[in-house]
Point group: C2
Amino acid sequence: MIRIAVVGHLARSSGDFSINDLPGAAGRMDVLCRCVNSSFFLSHDLRRDVECFLVLCGEPDPPKTIKISGRDVKHLNPDERTTAALLKKALSMVTGTKFRESTPGIFVRRGGLKELAQDFSFSVLDEGGLDIRSESKLPEAYILSDHLNFSPAENEILSGMPACSVGPQLLHADHTISVLFNEIDRRRAGWA
Amino acid sequence: MIRIAVVGHLARSSGDFSINDLPGAAGRMDVLCRCVNSSFFLSHDLRRDVECFLVLCGEPDPPKTIKISGRDVKHLNPDERTTAALLKKALSMVTGTKFRESTPGIFVRRGGLKELAQDFSFSVLDEGGLDIRSESKLPEAYILSDHLNFSPAENEILSGMPACSVGPQLLHADHTISVLFNEIDRRRAGWA
């Protein structure tokens, strides 16, 4: 199982956003939608052994965490708008501190990075980390940030976690995930 | 200069589509928008040394080709909807067989794969090709298909062109472009 967690620093934490304005009023929800796409989609297939976590830190009710399970997810399409509609539905539900399913394979709970870091041992995808091509064994859980850097409070939670990098350029989060999965695919197939 | 060309087999060839329905009535225009994103965006920067070509083969007026020049492009944002609005504007212009600029850095002309293949020496990004990591020198122009395979007529045009592959899995076109640029970035930075 590969786990990918993305922190959306401004991402709206309720379902009251318009899917016609993902970059603006929804707090760069477009970034998170593209990360979901990169985490799951293969050509005419889905990565069923992946879980993707979106940590929503924007107003009005942060933090919340959405979990998408590749094993069970349905109705997922590659375009941003369809994914956003699924996230909107999840964020419209009344929810507590335990994950609750909104549509097949999509769950939401109250809680953010702190709670998620207690659940899994993440490696931080960061440009200052060790080149993933030189890692003898790839990690199984990764965390990365949206278009903004991790805050000092987040860095405190992440301190002590190993860091790895996919390349010399600073990339968008979704591109980073695509490159990461290429390295994973290559090793599984004996190509690396 | 790196050139990326993507063939959109069903992509609408006029500007009469709704940016609220890119996967449907616009003929999977969402795929092409994500390819534009992968071709240009770095974190808080654009790849200025890239040109991206979109070959639109869908109704009602095919084929047309849109060229996006990283050197000159303006108003480009990462989300699908904003990119689609720029493409829609280009496809709403009256156009001939020479590229005509619609907004800064975005051009459109009549003509498709046949004409484009006369302009540049492409390598085909294809799962059957040579692993890009094993290429001693990377090509400078790449062509790939959207969610559909190349047609027999297109394969005839492409026959004789070298083929290269980014990995063992069949990927979406935009993910393929992200992985390709990672290899290019690594070689330029001495990381490969």
